[in-house]
């Protein structure tokens, strides 16, 4: 009973936080920009969040997170628009939507495809926020008994899973993790005060800087990749009418939506690119249990409803380990963690008790954000179609300018712009050789935490490494990591992805 009252009073205080005009405005800005970057190929939610990180310096932590979170789940809504209308996914989690969504559009059913996508996303998103609310408390409570060895093991697991689930080469992803961890050691070591790998460069004393690095790796390098060949998109010209799905559509979609909500939410909790994984898994499951699998790929509404629900449900699930443990399960949550750390807010089990306004503000903003997104995506679909028509050759200079100004604004220091440009080139070269950015930046963010917990554990055990296996949670977690690292052959995810595409 007391627990329910705590949740209820928390929700009330959350509404008070979010309905404050400034926070409400930032929620709207976040979901609007999220939809925009979801609609526009060439920049994804991580790129947008990275570029907007500098703007969060001047605003409160609550407003920052509300806005950045809005970009993350907003992009899931926007991504489906381009998948359905142009057969080009706005971002990775909407790849599967192309398979049946575009076919529905070709058959003159773009409206119901867009409609069920938005409504399924809303249901999935709302379900995951409710799940988040109820799951984060017991997990945070359990996490209070976690010590340095447990956190060390969890971070190792997190990075191992991200590596394991990388869509490309496992070894390359592992190299990216190690590279990211090494980059994380640059700067003054907080324990000993010794400068590491700075080579006398004053700007590097504080480390490389998450913001310029992220902006370079995701913003600049993405633009450079797109500059190679500027393909003009042809938008499927169709009158988009009847946005609301009919009864038959709902009958076919309700099952996928319910299954997608559960799948997405629970996958979101686990480390890895969960919106992407959950959309693929949902598609595979729906195709497998369908009475007529041959309809998949020809315009089956289940192939749109399930994945779009799942990718939004995964966004809520992703918040569980971030808020309860302070460990981001994927790159977008990593950026959010970076934003919180900029404001000296450390997420974890103590966040709920020490900064309840941040915790409940985030939760309630996601409810309100989902409502805003349905209103933005359904009636305003005509505007998004016009936005799709903006040629990339006009967008590219604007994106680059935002990156340059954004990087400068961090510390009014041109060194940050130079670092961003360098990482833009680094990111571009790495992508050309098929190395993924996500493991790199996640490892960079988690590296300092990993080292701190490692050193603390060694001090606790007086140099005895067996501390990691003597404590049960740490031992089990590390064993799972080792099993994943040593397992050979295709991961289930890659197998499944291959099956979905063929």
């Amino acid at each position: 009973m007391r627990g329910k009252m705590d949740i209820f009073s928390g929700i009330i205080s959350g509404f008070q936080t979010v309905l404050n005009p400034i926070n409400f405005l930032f929620c709207f800005i976040g979901v609007f920009i999220g939809t925009l970057v979801g609609v526009l190929p060439g920049i994804g939610p991580v790129g947008a969040m990275s570029i907007l990180l500098p703007t969060t310096y001047g605003i409160s932590p609550v407003s920052s997170i509300i806005m950045l979170a809005g970009i993350f789940y907003g992009a899931m809504y926007g991504g489906s628009t381009t998948s359905i209308l142009v057969n080009i996914p706005g971002e990775a989690a909407s790849v599967v939507t192309c398979l049946d969504g575009y076919q529905m559009a070709r058959k003159g059913r773009a409206g119901p495809a867009l409609g069920i996508s938005a409504l399924g996303s809303f249901i999935g998103g709302t379900f995951s926020v409710i799940g988040l609310m109820f799951l984060v408390f017991p997990l945070a409570k359990a996490a209070l008994s976690f010590g340095a060895p447990e956190y060390f093991a969890l971070i190792i697991l997190s990075m191992t899973v991200v590596t394991y689930l990388a869509s490309g080469s496992f070894v390359k992803a592992l190299i990216m993790v190690l590279f990211g961890l090494i980059l994380g050691t640059v700067g003054i070591d907080s324990t000993s005060g010794v400068a590491r790998f700075t080579f006398g460069c004053v700007p590097l004393l504080d480390g490389i800087g998450l913001v310029p690095m992220a902006m370079g790796l995701f913003g600049i390098s993405e633009v450079l990749m797109n500059l190679e060949i500027m393909l003009e998109r042809t938008i499927f010209e169709t009158k988009i009418k009847n946005l609301l799905p009919n009864f038959q559509d709902w009958k076919r979609s309700i099952g996928p939506i319910i299954r997608g909500s559960f799948m997405g939410f629970f996958l979101g909790i686990l480390p890895g690119p969960s919106p992407v994984i959950s959309s693929f898994l949902s598609y595979s499951v729906e195709k497998k249990i369908s009475k007529d699998p041959t309809t998949f790929g020809q315009g089956a509404i289940e192939g749109v409803a399930g994945p779009e629900t799942a990718n939004n449900a995964a966004t809520g699930g992703s918040f569980v380990p971030l808020l309860a443990l302070g460990i981001p399960p994927n790159i977008s949550m990593g950026i959010l963690l970076g934003a919180l750390m900029i404001h000296n807010v450390i997420p974890g089990p103590l966040l709920i008790s020490q900064r309840p306004e941040i915790f409940w503000g985030i939760i309630v903003s996601m409810y309100i954000g989902n409502i805003m997104l349905v209103l933005l995506n359904l009636p305003l679909i005509g505007i998004w179609v016009q936005v799709l028509k903006i040629p990339y050759r006009l967008l590219m200079p604007l994106i680059l300018l935002c990156c340059l100004i954004g990087a400068y604004s961090i510390n009014n220091n041109i060194a940050d712009v130079i670092i961003m440009n360098i990482f833009g080139v680094v990111g571009y070269v790495l992508r050309k050789f098929d190395y993924e950015m996500a493991p790199l930046i996640l490892a960079y963010i988690l590296g300092p935490m990993l080292e701190a917990h490692f050193r603390t554990s060694l001090i606790m055990s007086d140099g005895n490494l067996s501390i990691f296996v003597e404590r049960p949670i740490s031992c089990v977690t590390l064993v799972i990591s080792v099993i994943l690292l040593l397992s050979t052959g295709f991961s289930y995810y890659r197998k499944m992805k291959g099956k979905v595409i063929t």
């Binding site: 070894v171 190299i175 190690l178 050691t185 190679e228 590219m396 680059l400 100004i405 050309k432 098929d434």
Partner: protein, 156 residues
């Protein structure tokens, strides 16, 4: 990725091997401490060591990976415009080097002209878009509290 380039994937491996070794050498001079009292060099040393090991493994197994032998076409690609790419990169670095000397407005105007023109927009459109964007961004970001260097315009 150009299928003919997949065998060039071996080049970065040598870079990673070199980086791993370099990090180990530099960390050693930072004081490794010991397991009882970990020093600032311990973690980077271990990371450099693992990077070295993984890269060696990658190098040894590289010739046996099917994708590297046959070449895998990831997606359709036309001719890559390297001139445009180099131009954009050069202008990004030039922007950072000249930003504080010439000031925000002039460097921003110049880079926008280059960027808009690099994608074959017409000259009149390039000039209008560049001037408008430079001015709007100046006023917008100044309003948001960012202080830009005036550069040579401080004499105006």
């Amino acid at each position: 990725m150009d299928p003919n380039k997949s065998k060039y994937g071996i080049i970065p491996i040598f870079f990673w091997i070199g980086l791993g070794l370099l990090v180990m050498i530099l960390s050693y001079s930072l004081n490794l401490g010991g397991l009882h009292n970990p020093g600032p060099g311990l973690m980077p040393f271990l990371l450099g060591f693992f990077l070295f090991l993984v890269s060696i493994y990658f190098l040894i197994t590289f010739p046996y990976k099917k994708a590297n032998r046959d070449g895998v076409v990831k997606k359709e690609q036309g001719q890559i415009n390297y001139v445009r790419l180099c131009l954009v990169l050069a202008s990004l670095f030039a922007y950072s080097l000249l930003f504080e000397t010439l000031g925000f407005l002039i460097t921003t105007l110049l880079i926008l002209i280059i960027l808009f023109r690099s994608t074959n927009n017409r000259w009149y459109a390039v000039l209008i878009a560049s001037v408008l964007t430079a001015l709007v961004s100046y006023f917008l970001f100044t309003y948001l509290g960012i202080r830009f260097p005036k550069g040579i315009l401080k004499w105006v």
